[in-house]
Symmetry: D2
């Protein structure tokens, strides 16, 4: 018999709704059984449209539903930590969107909770590892195709078209800042590909076109350079003002070769040749770029539950990526080099 | 309430199985309700693994199942025609893999059957129209981005790694020949993008590395040049010996610009830089290249059934593509220019 | 001692002037010693600016200059044949821009003259063979990197920005038509790479945006498909309305691999990423695209003279490319398949 | 009359010889009049082969030749400073290969000498500014095509095939270290494109595959991150172990767009498609990549002399690039952030 994982999701924003739709229709071994949101209209609409049995405006109430096997957290970042711990304590498997938390302290608390519930599957939404290109790159590195990785360069640039929205949001909410919010996926990739932890970091940046970024002590575009424990080099560029679109690019330079993933963020296989030249359109956002990965990571989550395995992405990965993000934030704010291991990088 | 289309599929080969899996798990409004194959083990395995209620070794028997709404035909090409007609006569909506038939005569019979059952949705698996890149190209052409289309060039090349398999198959079965078997998707695209019908064609080719192609009066690699009714130009290259992989490329040159789709068949976003240069791996086959399209076309099929619409791909498209394929075959065999409209291109 | 070849050039149009400048300054073993043009001002200007000893308005007079070693012909196509023969008869080495002549009959006369003066170096300006990319492709083919060449596809498209100029010129002068004028370089490349002669051809085309092309019985964009003697396939696309610029692209498909030269006509190494996507500007014309080749071919010419060798490009190459161009013209005009070997393709 | 600049060159190594050949044959307004080298055989060979009137084993002796207009310095880096000053003092125009000197102190001395001889043209071989792609990028930036430049990323990677040679050289000679030797062109480009000076830098790196780099206190691969005075970001990656060849890549991210130059170091227009995928070969070294620029910069030098102008590249550019290189070296060695303006970055 096909065993299906019954999932309750919390958070029905842009990404949450996509996850909900995937859970309802595209993940073979999952069944979307409950939806939870503070906006009642969202619940009603989805329940009716997709025939979802349960709807909740209260997260705690959803956690009392014994039919559910797993909780999927796609709420705003500030809630992740608390909701993860509660769901684990209530006996559920948990999938949480990144980040683990907006403060390192929180992330460490989640880590404790996950360790306490070792029989439960906990998975963090570092979906890039499940993107076909990123996964194939990992394979090539493990095959030794590029020798020893010595330098990783990561670009994580959000489209300029989203900058207004972000500024509106960030003025009212604590986003974590450019590096924690945008580069955390890259930090995870760097640790995954390079097999080492960050030791020192220097991060700089500025409010190049929009002074509002200064008002919120954040950067519009920024860069962090990292020395890893094994002396390898990390370069991380993050930004919110990419004119051509959503630009995720990663390069790993090794002693025997290099791999680039997403050299240019070409959205499809079309080249349009016109008066101004040969034009390739670019991705407009993460939902378009990582469509396959957002689905594959949840397939993996279901697999792990059904087969009693643990996912490759662990809570430790979440903690360490957060720690590095936090160090970047500190370096950017203090204008100093930050020694990650030497300091206690926690919430002040 | 979510209305689901209950589908019975016939044919569980490589593509058939992929369609079955999509129908079972990835098409929101479909439910895989019955599977039919002459190989009993295939049925049993799939029924158990995916919990499919009905299994048949007899196609006729499946057609008596009144629970089904639609029949999905993924059997060998020689059966399409007969199975389509039977399914329509039995009152089902029908989705059939291409080609409509191996002979133009057959295709015309299907056309009659479809016209007779005008209340039923009939859709032919010209999936490329549902591929994101091909669909976006259509949009750009309709926007006038390239002016009037004047020339279309289509490459349809199967990987050399499949050549042995094909030769084994083709020695025992009638494949229709290179142009009918391989270029029929391109003929559909050409008609779709150019908005005109083929008038004259000259087709040439040869058995360049494998003399067996001559034994079966077929070409290993071939090319057809078409003059369309509006005097536009069509160039079609087909082959079974593509060293680098599955190469589907299309270019439309217009009076104000050009569009290319799939310039190089790069399988993912990775570039590997090593001693021999910058290397991009290529697609290994149609399932990899058209994964998204194989799913989207079936979503469209379900949509049409549920909303009482007709798909863009009509039986007429199937007939005309077959007619052009047949003309290419005749030109290749006779070494003459073939006037498509002037001749009766039917089974002799 | 450095022996320098003293050269007299006839024709100081756009390409002629570039050649003159190269001869004067960039070809190590050449010395531009005389310039000839019907426009006296051109001569005076160049003589003064570059200190060229001799200037002529009469070609015949230039041929009496015993200081000269070689004559470089860059005059309008209609004069090539006559000027080549006169220069050879006067005892000079001769470099002539393509085409050999506008009529096959003429080309055959040149061939006789060249054969009569076997001690002289005669070279035809098929510069593409001296372009680094084209030369490297030849090397790879000879290395066996792609196995046996089975299909060649050539694009030769002039920028739309030149279409008005061309039409003005072509209304007053006989250009030879699209295939003789534009594809003759491609015909030479095809024969060079494929190592075989054309046997049958079908050529089509039209006046897609500018009806004036019909008035002069020419095509704005056209295509020719060729069956070679060894049954290999040739596809030639020529046009005068390329929106994005000067587009020269060549692909050779072999039994073990393919080579593409100039996939997209990217003019430099820049990608500009802006709102509309990632943009690569394209070449604006042959002087920009083939700058290196226009210089290298003349270096080779000088080499041959100084070292008593013969260039790879022979008069026979000129004759056969012209023969194929003529066959295309005939096929385009008659709308029939043309058997090149069976017919006498001469001036009527 | 054509005025020609009579040039004497010192240094006939790989690049020196190329410059000599260009001066002799490819720069319209230059005449190679004297060659100087400590290796007598080099002088004799070139004098005979190219008919160069003067040959010297003593640099001082060459400076007494009153026929010469200009001195071209292509000797080893350690000699530049001294030779520049002497040539200026002797009344010549001077072109010097980069770097200005191996120590900042030296560079400052050259600056003084250049300022003293304000009537002489002094030009430093920052040839990239004269490369067509780099020059076109500058134009686009000045056009405002990318808004305000906010981040520049530069890769300067030498091919792994040269690593042994370099190590042999560097064990016996002081090379200046990775950043001064390799990135100095990038520092010049950064200052040129960004229009600002470096303020702070952190540089890291290591001996990833060859421990000998540690023995000479140098890095095999390294990276420097720079904060400019206007708060813009600079990222510089340099290395001597690029598996795929000579990789020079530059990206400028602006507030309204980005420009990339040399995304992948594709040596020509060929794509080879074979079993392993679509392969583009890469440049093998600076002579191949910057052939056009090495010639154009000298044309500019001659222009400036003949027309009494000053080149865009000034001695100040040399000094500031060296200052930044020196700061990188210091940061790499001390593992600290270096404040360029606050410190006296001079030879200790």
């Amino acid at each position: 018999m096909v065993k299906k994982v019954k999932v309750g999701i919390v958070g029905l924003g842009r990404l949450g709704r996509q996850h909900a739709e995937n859970l309802a229709f595209r993940i073979p071994n999952c069944e979307l059984t409950a939806v939870c949101s503070v906006i009642e209209a969202e619940i009603t609409e989805i329940q009716e449209k997709w025939q979802i049995p349960y709807g909740y405006t209260s997260y705690d109430e959803m956690l009392t539903n014994k039919e559910l096997d797993a909780i999927f957290i796609a709420s705003p970042s500030g809630f992740h930590c608390d909701q993860i711990i509660k769901a684990l304590d209530a006996g559920f498997h948990v999938f949480s969107e990144k980040p683990l938390g907006l403060y390192l302290e929180e992330a460490l608390e989640v880590q404790k909770a996950v360790e306490k519930h070792a029989d439960k599957v906990f998975m963090l939404g570092f979906m890039r590892r499940y993107d076909r290109s990123y996964a194939a790159a990992k394979q090539k590195i493990e095959n030794g195709d590029i020798g020893e990785p010595t330098l990783i360069r990561c670009y994580g640039l959000d489209p300029a078209s989203q900058m207004d929205n972000f500024l509106k949001f960030a003025k009212a909410n604590y986003s974590g800042g450019l590096f924690l919010d945008m580069s955390v996926h890259d930090f995870d990739l760097a640790r995954w590909y390079m097999g080492t932890e960050a030791q020192e970091v220097w991060a700089i940046g500025g409010a190049y076109s929009r002074p509002e970024f200064e008002d919120i002590q954040d950067a519009e575009t920024g860069a962090a350079m990292v020395r890893f424990e094994n002396n390898a080099i990390g370069i991380f560029v993050a930004g919110r003002n990419s004119a051509h679109g959503y630009h995720i690019e990663t390069e790993i330079i090794g002693t025997k070769g290099s791999i680039r993933i997403g050299t240019l963020p070409e959205r499809d296989q079309i080249v349009l040749m016109q008066e101004n030249g040969a034009v390739k359109e670019c991705y407009d956002g993460f939902l378009e770029r990582f469509e396959q990965a957002f689905s594959s990571e949840v397939e993996e989550f279901a697999h792990c539950i059904l087969e009693g395995k643990k996912p490759d992405v662990t809570v430790h990965d979440g903690v360490e990526s957060t720690r590095l993000g936090y160090a970047c934030k500190k370096s950017f704010e203090t204008r100093q080099l930050v020694n990650i291991q030497a300091e206690q990088l926690v919430k002040n």
